[in-house]
């Protein structure tokens, strides 16, 4: 088939042009993502590679560290307004949160809160591409992830904290709790969100419980579309930097939610009560039980 054959159908040609003009967020690295979200020329990195704030624990265990410990903190402007992007690099150690990388995020959230407390507005955006805490740094990582949770809760009194899960690593473990604490969550279809990753569930509960190799089934349970349709995310977008920028701006413009997702305990208890644990449940059935607008 030659390229021109695609053009005979105008809608197909439009779709193709739209697809080709997209700038894939998934294909970018964390630093590029932060640059793509901020206004051109406004990107300024805090604690960048040349500050060499790397993990002191990984080399002791024979693992090569990274000069930024896999987290990029970028100050700049988004649509002309001050913003701080906290981007996790999924390619380095699965985006795992070590003592240093998690501290960078916790400190950035704290600084943003300090700005608000002294009357300066700033929009915090978390790019969550992470398997959760870094097992090699165990309790140190856990402790700082808990600090991130506390900082999100403290900051979201002032400003919506916006989380983004783009994929392909997804967002798991302690950082999935961070995602749940965000005021608003943006997901791509390629994203996954879950407390336990599918491999962990398979390893701990057996392949009869969950086959981590069954991609379609995994995404039907914890994929971006499913999480959006069941009300765990606020925006579902395509893999395009401009759409992501727009989604973040739209959500920021909504202001603080009347009630944060993590405060809606009674809603979720009501939802859980709808489930009959004696009967099998799959993704499509859960969508019927928990429709998107059901919350609040």
């Amino acid at each position: 088939m030659t390229p021109t054959e695609h053009c005979t159908d105008p809608t197909a040609a439009e779709r193709r042009d739209r697809f080709l003009s997209r700038r894939s967020v998934i294909e970018m690295r964390a630093r590029e993502r932060a640059q793509a979200l901020l206004d051109p020329g406004s990107f300024r990195e805090l604690l960048g590679p040349f500050d060499r704030l790397e993990s002191p624990w990984l080399p002791l265990q024979g693992i090569v560290p990274e000069s930024d410990d896999g987290v990029v903190i970028a100050r700049g402007e988004l649509a002309g307004k001050p913003a701080v992007i906290m981007a996790i690099e999924g390619a380095f150690q699965g985006g795992s949160m070590g003592e240093v990388s998690a501290s960078k995020i916790a400190a950035a959230l704290r600084l943003a809160r300090g700005d608000w407390e002294s009357g300066k507005a700033i929009l915090p955006v978390l790019l969550l591409e992470t398997g959760g805490v870094r097992l090699q740094e165990a309790n140190l990582g856990e402790a700082v992830v808990a600090e991130i949770h506390a900082e999100i809760i403290a900051l979201r009194r002032h400003v919506p904290v916006i989380g983004v899960i783009h994929g392909m690593v997804g967002c798991f473990g302690g950082m999935s709790i961070a995602a749940g604490l965000c005021s608003y969550l943006v997901v791509l279809p390629q994203a996954r969100l879950g407390l336990n990753g599918p491999e962990v569930i398979e390893q701990e509960a057996g392949i009869d419980e969950l086959d981590a190799g069954d991609k379609q089934m995994i995404w039907s349970l914890m994929g971006g579309e499913q999480r959006y349709e069941t009300g765990f995310a606020d925006a579902l977008i395509e893999d395009d930097a401009e759409q992501l920028r727009q989604a973040i701006r739209d959500l920021a413009a909504r202001g603080l939610p009347a009630r944060h997702r993590s405060e809606a305990v009674d809603d979720y208890q009501r939802r859980l009560a709808k489930i009959d644990p004696t009967r099998p449940l799959d993704g499509p059935a859960l969508r019927r039980l928990w429709p998107q607008g059901d919350r609040q």
Binding site: P49, S67, A91
Partner: protein, 97 residues
């Protein structure tokens, strides 16, 4: 993990610094910045041990045409020699005077 050190003669100074790449599977990061001493010093930390000769060959080739006094740090996560050469060229391009 293995740490390797190399030194090359330098002819001129460097004025800029650059960071490229990521410590992800099959990739590496390169940090290159101006050095105090009039030589190029390279430190390699690689997840794959026992390839000192291959590293020397790849670095020899790069420093045969890159003759600036520089401090170079490489954190490697199993990149092929071709990948290493490309990342070095990319970093070299960015710091070109």
């Amino acid at each position: 993990m293995e740490t390797l050190n190399f030194e090359y003669e330098a002819k001129g100074p460097l004025t800029r610094r650059a960071h490229v790449g990521v410590v992800g599977s099959g990739d590496l990061e390169v940090l290159i910045e101006p050095a105090d001493k009039p030589i190029a010093q390279v430190r390699v930390r690689t997840s794959v041990s026992g390839y000192a000769q291959v590293w020397k060959a790849v670095l020899d080739r790069f420093f045969s045409h890159f003759e600036h006094a520089a401090r170079v740090e490489i954190n490697d996560f199993g990149a092929t020699p071709g990948m290493v050469a490309l990342r070095l060229e990319q970093a070299g391009e960015l710091v070109k005077p």
